[in-house]
């Protein structure tokens, strides 16, 4: 990968990586650090990374940093989700979904985001996270059940 390819990756994936890191870490400042360090690693390893695999490489680094490192350091306080759940006076579905996402553990949240935000398949998520395809499928289904249960529990949301 040359400097041109790297810069192309910045333009193409920095936003997506930032959104993913924001949801994983729960803090914009931490997400900023994750993006910076992920691209720093990509630049260091640019000779070994093909441009076609740069996105997966970035998310792999971001996943490790935001999930593994932050999980070990501090318990994530998820600021994106407001405390108030759905009420007829608070019909903001987005906030409800964020709150539902906050119900998940860090790994499950990352799996859901990789699936829904980036559209990765089970095997691709497995390569990024280091899990097997079966593990990814099981963890994702468990997360979906948790999310569904939360949303259904919210009065009259459905």
């Amino acid at each position: 990968m040359e400097a041109n390819d790297y810069n192309h990756c910045v333009g193409e994936w920095a936003d997506a990586l930032f959104r993913f890191a924001c949801k994983c870490t729960g803090q914009a400042a931490d997400a900023h650090d994750v993006v910076q360090s992920s691209f720093a690693v990509l630049w260091q390893k640019r000779k070994d990374v093909e441009p076609a695999k740069a996105k997966a490489f970035l998310f792999q680094v971001a996943y490790r940093q935001s999930v593994d490192n932050y999980r070990k350091r501090v318990k994530v306080t998820y600021n994106d989700a407001p405390e108030g759940a759905y009420t007829p006076a608070n019909p903001d579905l987005k906030k409800i979904l964020d709150r539902a996402l906050a119900q998940l553990d860090d790994q499950s949240r990352a799996l859901v985001l990789l699936k829904d935000y980036e559209g990765y398949h089970y095997d691709e998520i497995g390569q990024i996270t280091g899990l097997t395809e079966t593990q990814v499928k099981v963890y994702l289904h468990r997360a979906r059940k948790t999310l569904k249960a939360y949303l259904v529990s919210v009065e009259n949301i459905l």
């Binding site: 691209f39 559209g119 089970y122 999310l147």
Partner: protein
Amino acid sequence: MVTWENYEEYLMMQADGELSPAEAQELQAFVTLHPELRKEMAAYELTKFAPDTAQLYGDKQSLLKPVGDVRMFVIPKWVKYGIAAGLLLLVAVGLFRASLEKERKVQIVGVGKQDRPNRETVAAKEHQVDTNRAAAHAANPVVISATDRAGAHPKVFARVAKKSGRIMSVRNDATLEVASNNDGRAQQQQMSALTIAGPSRLPVDALELYTPALALSDAPVPNNPVQRSSAMRVLWDKVPIAKRNKKQLENAAGFVARTFRDVTSTNNDADDKGISLRIKNNQLLISVN
């Protein structure tokens, strides 16, 4: 095939987008057959998250790298001046060394036909040996001495005669010559030459033992090493040679003696201006003319 046992897995895989078109069609048929599942299917669809495309990373410029791997270095002024001064110093030293090289010619010459060549022969040989230095180094790796050409003083020759018949002579103009001589008869030998280290690089620690004063005096030499060394030094100081050349000759003699390890005897058998040193199986003849 979708059943009551696996329909939920199909619903989640539908939400994950992992169903093939055939499987999706099969699930849809099952839900159509069981409408009570529509609400559950919608709930799973609701668990899908869409990215907030308005959320952007605002510091992309800091991530970009210069194209072509160009790196900019800012060199402080004092570094520039330092580099300039260093270059000037290098040029000055180079010029100084070049001027010294003109004054100093350091060679080893392999010579033939005669055991004591005349000046014309030496000049011709010097010209020839300049073209054969590399070969000479391989053929005759003996490195001995050098003196300076400058100064009007008596010519000093030193010859080392091996029992094998090789004769070597050292002149004060920094040329050392080697000839082949079996039983006193001169034989022609291919001539070679080699540039060697200047006087400053020659060992000087053996000067007290191998001072050239031995080669220039008939005075009795004391047996006591300390007295002998002192006496030799006094005699050597009286030799009418420029001080600078005398020092270089000391170096030459010291290095010759060091090369041949040990001086076993001395004998003034050359003529009234010369003397010989027995160095194990070699004989060093030094004459002044």
